[in-house]
């Protein structure tokens, strides 16, 4: 069956940023439909659809919404994660570029379902153009009664605020984002309490990624079964894959979840450029780890990459590296990013990533020492939220990248240990 685009359905439609044009293409019909339906039915539909978060962790959206305390007097907040700063990831920006009203409709429908009083769209500081576009979009929506008091003459009211970040990867971590939104330093919070219980300004808060929210209106309109007809059993629906690196046609493509990595590269990105061989692929933003060229059968859904030693699908920002790529350099660049972006709270992440960077730099300079690889792996083990060693998942990224690169390309790393120091195995 030919895949019919969902999130990119309006791609290339002239002036789609114009409300009238968006409406002429069926825009805000889902909102009308939602406003006329009971909230729990809508939520059940989203739950049934199996929609999982597109921000990186793949948590079930409907389940997360259920964590909001039912007996709380409010106000409730929705914070939209548009911080998109993970290297290799550019899908949310693309969504805003090709169809900004789609994002807003997702926000309003989700807000309605969760009795949200105010939605904050937290947009990455560097996205100047997108911020302007969204601001215009929001203004239009207010003018046409899609935001503000009594939306489309219903008894539902919603305020929407665009908040621009100040340029830090860590503000994409949901609680770092809440701190930044509150005007504080973007330091991830200790959990519990979770944002659903005490989030923005201490109030119950839903946090979702832009792409996640864009999936909600189509689900409302076309039903859970339709959504589940795409993708795999546990990874349902369409997904935007951002492909970059050494391919002939880098860009964003929409496909059902579960496309094998090889197919994505060969069929949808024109293959590796200059007829070179592929050496490795980062499946979903640099924090997820790396797949070798022997692992390209890996389906790009939420279950696939973990089977190949990666942390997960992440953002599905796929980076392809050809045979000429130095994997030590690649890892160094990744670790440099994480060391630079570490917020500095946790000892393991703050000091560990900096130390790893020093070691990788000396490996690259040909000054590697005998124990350096063990030390790197040890330092990777000293951080990460999953083993409980740090507050947030940023350092899981450092750890997974280091672990998979070193283990999967060990000989390349060993070759960088200075010959004087190389240990016989």
């Amino acid at each position: 069956m030919e895949f019919e685009p969902v999130l990119t359905r309006n791609l290339g439609v002239p002036n789609i940023g114009d409300l009238k044009v968006y409406q002429s293409r069926g825009g805000y019909e889902a909102l009308r439909q939602a406003l006329a339906s009971p909230r729990n039915e809508l939520k059940q539909t989203v739950k049934d659809s199996g929609l999982r978060g597109r921000g990186g962790a793949g948590f079930f959206a409907g389940v997360k919404w259920d964590f909001l305390p039912a007996d709380h007097p409010g106000p409730f907040y929705l914070v939209v994660n548009f911080d998109e700063s993970e290297p290799g990831t550019f899908k949310d920006r693309y969504l805003c570029d090709i169809d900004p009203h789609q994002i807003l409709e997702g926000v309003i429908v989700t807000a309605y379902i969760n009795r949200i009083d105010t939605a904050y769209i937290f947009i990455r500081g560097e996205f100047h153009h997108q911020a302007e576009v969204l601001q215009r979009t929001i203004k239009q929506a207010y003018k046409e009664g899609l935001l503000g008091k009594n939306i489309l003459s219903s008894d539902y009211s919603l305020e929407c605020v665009l908040h621009r970040g100040a340029g830090a990867y860590i503000c994409g971590e949901e609680t770092g984002m809440l701190e930044a939104l509150e005007g504080k330093r973007g330091w991830p919070r200790l959990k519990p309490p979770y944002p659903a219980v005490a989030g923005a300004f201490g109030q119950p808060t839903v946090i979702n990624n832009v792409e996640t929210l864009c999936c909600v209106p189509p689900i409302i309109q076309r039903g859970a079964d339709w959504f589940k007809s795409m993708g795999t059993k546990k990874s349902t629906g369409p997904k935007l894959y951002g492909i970059s690196g050494h391919v002939n046609r880098p860009g964003v493509v929409e496909l059902p979840l579960g496309v094998p990595c090889r197919e994505l590269i060969e069929k949808h990105a024109g293959g590796v450029r200059d007829s070179k061989r592929c050496k490795g692929v980062i499946p979903g933003g640099v924090s997820m780890g790396v797949l070798t060229r022997d692992e390209l059968d890996c389906p790009l859904d939420f279950e696939g990459p973990p089977r190949y030693g990666c942390m997960g699908l992440g953002t599905a920002g796929v980076i392809v590296m050809d045979e000429d790529t130095c994997m030590v350099t690649a890892l160094r660049n990744i670790v440099r990013f994480f060391a630079h972006e570490s917020c500095g709270q946790c000892t393991g992440c703050r000091e560990g990533s900096g130390w790893m960077l020093q070691i990788l730099n000396r490996l690259l300079g040909g000054q590697g020492r005998g124990r350096d690889l063990e030390l790197l792996l040890d330092l990777a083990d000293a951080q990460g939220m999953a083993p409980g060693k740090t507050i947030c998942g940023l350092s899981d990224g450092t750890a997974w990248a280091a672990r998979t690169f070193i283990n999967k390309y060990r000989s390349e790393f060993e070759a960088k240990v200075s010959t004087r120091d190389r240990v016989a195995v």
Binding site: S342, G344, Q345, C346, T347, S353, R362, A382, A386, K389
Partner: protein
């Protein structure tokens, strides 16, 4: 209302604790320990140093213990009934080693010149929980400068382990928020905003809560190695709050004051005025011997001579004693105030008791963290009042003394001092005392007042004697002497005892019992120190 108690085990030891308390606090309260940096009982939980990790488990439905896979931070994890907590596993030990190793990679290890050495949690924990070697084989330590961050504080950024206790203190306790973390990752540093230094009345506590030698108190800098210091519990005399303190001394010199925890009074803090206000103890102007005026000139005298002179002067009996006025000091302890009054009234029921001057701010100063600096800048105004009330009879307040001297009602005046500053008498008051026929000064600092006295008793400052203060909450607090009195000065309570009791041997216990009985004091508060 008492909170529910739960029982859990820590490394196999059963511990009972209030529900909701953190595992770390419960373990510490029970007398065990888990290494920790960012946690401080007086501050909010940061959970960022990651040193306090433990493994925890709970019984499942069938009562079988199920351990949770990730490490959890004990500072952040509330105790639960039947919880199992372990810090003695290999995983926890490895984790502690790695956190300590990571904290040391950018640390200068300049312990030989670091004031904190000896009471440094980085030293202590590295020794107890760390690796014996560092694998950080490079010279590229991040170097950060020493910064002058306020009137009393230096920040050796190099040594900082970024526990953020100091940042939280300025936000939560002093409410002044002068400190912040700037930059990110391993370039993060503690700093002040726009060069504006730490400016709050509780700043000295920052040097205490800093677990390493990063924030240090300037007045103590390079003064003493802490292991030479002996810490004697005492009570701060600088306001009527009566914060509990330690006097840290060596070879007869008090080098610094530290807070001593008392949750009814000062919690874990003291103010800068108290902490850094003890220089008078060792001032050049300290009176180190008694003096007598002989032919208009003051000359050194022994205590016996001075006492004899007072006795001779009042030997005239009733008429002279009727015109005796004694000025009690709010800086004197209860025992001194009581003995002086009892002596005067023993000579004559008409002797006047005068309450000495109390300098007072408009109101108490309460900080966001609950700490209070009292308006009254003296430790024992309440004690003085209690003594005056007890003895009854002719009493005056300080401002009325003038009239009494001018009218000739007060001819012989005994002035009790002990104030921590020299010139506590104004020019007008001094002129007034000049009119008194016979002036006796009991004080600790040489001043215009003592110079015009006929008899000068060199007293001991509070750190040099035992005593009792009654604070602004009516709590009676006794304290001990930490160091010897300056020169030939003597403990004022003993001095006044000799004045009144002649040769009867000094018996402090009996005296305190008598005062407690007379004034209705229900025993001195047992201060809750930790």
């Amino acid at each position: 209302m008492a909170k529910k108690k739960v029982t859990f085990t820590f490394n196999g030891h059963p511990i009972e604790a209030e529900e909701g308390l953190s595992v770390l606090q419960a373990v510490l309260d029970a007398g065990y320990t888990i290494p920790h940096y960012c946690y401080h009982e007086g501050l909010s939980v940061a959970g960022s140093c990651r040193l306090c990790a433990v493994e925890v488990g709970h019984p499942d439905k069938d009562g079988n213990l199920k351990m949770i896979q990730p490490l959890v931070m004990s500072c952040q994890t509330p105790v639960r009934q039947d919880m199992t907590v372990r810090s003695d596993t290999e995983r926890v030990r490895d984790h502690q080693k790695s956190v300590l190793e990571l904290l040391l990679i950018n640390h200068p290890l300049d312990c030989p010149v670091c004031d904190q050495a000896g009471e440094c949690l980085l030293q202590d924990y590295s020794f107890r929980y760390g690796r014996s070697i560092s694998r950080f084989e490079t010279d590229d330590k991040i170097k950060q400068p020493k910064k002058d961050v306020g009137k009393y504080l230096l920040l050796y950024s190099d040594r900082c382990i970024l526990c953020t206790r100091c940042v939280r203190f300025t936000r939560e306790v002093s409410g002044t928020a002068e400190l912040a973390v700037v930059h990110r990752g391993n370039k993060s540093e503690i700093d002040i905003f726009g060069g504006r230094g730490i400016d709050n009345k509780l700043s000295g506590n920052l040097a205490d809560i800093c677990p390493v030698g990063a924030l240090l108190a300037k007045p103590f800098l390079f003064k003493q190695r802490v292991w030479f210091l002996e810490n004697t519990p005492s009570v701060c005399p600088r306001c009527s709050r009566g914060c509990n303190i330690y006097l840290c001394h060596n070879q007869g010199v008090v080098w610094r004051l530290l807070p001593r925890r008392n949750d009814r009074i000062n919690g874990q803090w003291i103010c800068d005025e108290g902490r850094f206000g003890s220089a008078f103890l060792h001032a050049d102007e300290r009176l180190s011997e008694c003096r007598l005026r002989r032919e208009r000139i003051q000359q050194p005298a022994s205590l016996a001579e001075a006492l004899q002179r007072v006795g001779e002067h009042l030997a005239g009996g009733q008429p002279a004693a009727d015109k005796l006025a004694v000025v009690l000091s709010p800086f004197a302890c209860l025992e001194e105030q009581y003995l002086l009054s009892r002596w005067a009234r023993g000579l004559s029921a008409q002797a006047t008791l005068v309450s000495g001057p109390v300098f007072s701010a408009d109101q108490d100063e309460t900080f966001p963290g609950g700490f209070v600096i009292a308006a009254e800048k003296a430790p024992n105004r309440r004690g003085m009042q209690r003594v005056l009330d007890h003895f009854g009879g002719p009493r005056l307040i300080w401002q009325q003394l003038e009239q009494a001297i001018e009218s000739g009602a007060a001819e012989t005046v005994w002035v009790q001092g002990g104030h921590p500053w020299r010139h506590w008498c104004t020019g007008e008051q001094l002129a007034l005392f000049r009119q008194a026929k016979f002036l006796i000064a009991q004080d600790i600092l040489d001043s215009e007042l003592t110079r015009q006295a006929d008899v000068v008793f060199a007293g001991a400052a509070w750190a040099e004697k035992a005593g009792t203060f009654i604070n602004d909450q009516d709590l009676a607090q006794s304290y001990q002497a930490a160091i010897e009195p300056a020169g030939a000065a003597v403990d004022d309570t003993e001095l006044l005892w000799r004045l009144g009791q002649g040769d009867l041997p000094f018996d402090r216990q009996r005296l305190q019992a008598e005062i407690a009985d007379a004034l209705g004091i229900k025993g001195s508060t047992e201060t809750e120190s930790k």
